[in-house]
């Protein structure tokens, strides 16, 4: 029997990682995997209950919900990854500067980070959505990123403060390495692993936040195959057609749960102190 890498030997982590792989595959291959198009169907087919023809039933427009749930993986994974890319790079840059450059500038950067941490994420995002007056997925991505970099900045600052005092940093400086080189080649690689762990855990939280904003009506336009939007669109028909609301929600649940389980596994792998329990 092949030996799995240690974190994957925990069955929950294994399941979580499996679901993540499946999620990325579905997002990439949705047009191949989906039996119907995301918006193909007529009003004659509306509200068909789940059955062999439509596994998850059809919605108020007669569209196949199973296909739409598969297509819905795209905006979920896509917006999640973009938010993560923006906020981890911005947060890491701020954190490196705040932690490495002592004195007034570091202090100012830290205070700015604190200010953004003072907002509950969803509420700041709502204010931004109001200000840019657009109801699209891009608006949501911008709105969420504006708050989401701050925790990464906090983490990287703490790491950098500790790493700055290490001998290898002193050694690099004493042989004449410039600050930028020290930051990028010596500090960054050593400060980055908690960011990876946090990012894995956060992807689930970002998907939840995007879904909530879409549900409220600030994200994907009505009718688009987006999980949060599908629940919102189906809400008024829930009484007689429960499947319209049930399946997109299950999709969100599985995606978020998978990132949480895998994130826990990543944390255990990177942080040996937690390995006991």
């Amino acid at each position: 029997m092949p030996v799995l890498p240690k974190p994957l030997r925990n069955p929950l982590v294994l399941v979580g990682s499996g679901v993540i792989v499946a999620l990325f595959l579905v997002a990439a291959l949705a047009p191949v995997l989906a039996p119907y198009g995301p918006q193909s169907g007529t009003l004659l087919d509306r509200f068909e209950p789940p059955g062999p023809r439509h596994w998850f039933g059809t919605d108020s427009s007669g569209f196949d919900i199973f296909s739409r749930v598969l297509y819905g993986a795209r905006p979920a994974v896509g917006s999640g990854l973009i938010v993560l890319a923006v906020s981890t790079s911005a947060g890491t840059a701020v954190g490196l500067l705040a932690g490495y450059g002592r004195g007034a500038w570091g202090e100012v950067l830290l205070r700015i980070t604190d200010v953004f941490l003072a907002f509950p994420g969803l509420l700041l995002a709502m204010a931004v959505v109001a200000a840019i007056q657009q109801r699209t997925l891009w608006a949501i991505v911008v709105a969420i990123s504006l708050r989401w970099w701050a925790p990464y900045a906090r983490i990287v600052t703490a790491q950098t403060l500790a790493i700055r005092e290490r001998e290898y940093v002193e050694a690099a400086r004493s042989i004449g390495a410039r600050h930028l080189r020290v930051l990028l080649r010596h500090v960054l690689p050593n400060a980055f692993s908690p960011v990876v762990v946090q990012a894995t855990l956060d992807l689930g939280a970002i998907i939840l936040t995007t879904a909530a904003l879409s549900f409220i009506g600030f994200g994907a336009e009505p009718g688009t195959p987006d999980w949060g939007r599908m629940v919102a669109d189906g809400r008024q028909y829930m009484r007689d057609h429960w499947w319209v609301v049930l399946f997109p929600g299950i999709a969100i649940f599985f995606a978020v749960a998978a990132f949480n389980l895998a994130g826990d596994g990543a944390r255990d792998a990177f942080d040996p102190r937690l390995r006991g329990e």
Binding site: D114, V115, M126, A130, Q133, L208, F215, G228, V231, I252
Partner: protein
């Protein structure tokens, strides 16, 4: 201790001031054609005259720094600006909805603590028992299932299907409002009904409060029960627990008195996090259950481009969140002297 609190309070003032500046930038610098939108919102025909009037009324053509001054003056005066939609001071509107949100949040918090602490203790005492497994499953659902979806499922099961709940939303039924009106005492409906001895009103209020409170509590149950479990596990291995057992103390007393009291300390840190969640989660919950709270008000404000209202609510949320975090730190420093002097 006083020095610690003073230091933290100074930081808090700076941070909240910064947060208000950020909300100003978001609400005043990014938006386009604000005067035109607000003129339309007020129901006038949008003519250049009306736009000029609105522009003058809200100082929109002044330099940004002057507008910022007006903004700070409005916040300091306690009116928080005038809503272009309702025409009232934003503070008046928010104060009207705030008690309803506080009632919902308090109910959710109480429910979460009442469920999660015993569950965490039992799960720690009997590891891998069915209670432990169930709490693990519940924690995953609480963390990963979207609140709006849980809320809708609860509505489907308890309103449409079982019929245990009288309305899919709102705070009181129409029949209660007509036959047993709840007299205003504190502004919290459940409390007012209880204080005035209004039995039918109280039952109806609780009936309406149950589902939104459960939806809002679920993520907190997840957080608190796992936290209680892990700190209980740690405490149960301590020497003083062994000593208590050795001197023949009954096991329930060891668990619920000696161990739990010490295990609950780390749970205090979750207070700040919980407040953040209650602020965020109440938006979606209130929307689903037609709960007339500030979260629902804020969504309406975003939809109608009521920037003074959006700004005020966001700033208020930042203030509440920061205060909760400060309180957490103070409680923690009080409990653990090492933090005070760090």
């Amino acid at each position: 201790m006083i020095g610690f609190v003073a230091r933290r309070l100074a930081t808090l003032v700076a941070v909240v001031f910064g947060a208000m500046t950020v909300t100003f930038v978001i609400a005043r610098v990014i938006p386009q054609n604000v005067a035109q939108i607000w003129a339309g919102v007020q129901g006038f025909k949008v003519t250049p005259d009306v736009i000029a009037l609105v522009t003058r009324q809200y100082h929109l053509n002044e330099p940004l720094i002057v507008q910022y001054g007006y903004y700070l003056r409005d916040l300091a005066s306690g009116r928080w600006g005038t809503s272009p939609v309702t025409g009232r001071p934003v503070a008046v509107d928010i104060l009207m909805y705030l008690p309803n949100t506080m009632e919902l949040a308090a109910a959710a918090l109480l429910l979460a603590v009442a469920v999660s602490v015993p569950m965490g203790v039992v799960a720690a005492r009997a590891r891998n028992s069915w209670v432990d497994q169930a709490s693990r499953a519940l924690a995953l659902i609480g963390v990963a299932a979207p609140t709006f979806w849980i809320g809708l499922l609860l509505q489907f099961v308890f309103y449409y299907w079982l019929g245990w709940v009288r309305d899919p939303g709102g705070m009181l039924s129409d029949s209660t409002l007509a036959l047993y009106p709840v007299r205003h005492v504190t502004g919290f409906v459940v409390l007012d009904a209880a204080l005035t001895g209004n039995g039918p009103g109280l039952l109806d209020a609780i009936n309406h409060l149950a589902l939104p409170a459960i939806s809002l509590a679920l993520p907190l149950v997840a957080l608190l029960s796992r936290m209680t479990r892990s700190s209980m596990l740690e405490v149960l291995n301590q020497d003083y627990v062994r000593t208590a057992r050795a001197k023949g103390m009954p096991e329930w007393r060891v668990t619920w008195r000696h161990a739990l009291r010490n295990a609950l300390m780390p749970t205090v840190t979750v207070l700040g996090l919980s407040t953040g969640w209650l602020l965020t989660g109440s938006v979606v919950t209130e929307l689903i259950f037609y709960w007339p709270g500030v979260g629902r008000y804020a969504v309406g404000a975003v939809t109608s481009f009521d920037f003074p209202a959006v700004t005020a609510y966001t700033a208020l949320a930042a203030l509440i969140f920061s205060l909760a975090n400060l309180l957490t730190d103070i409680v923690y420093a009080y409990v653990d002297p090492r933090i005070r002097f760090a």
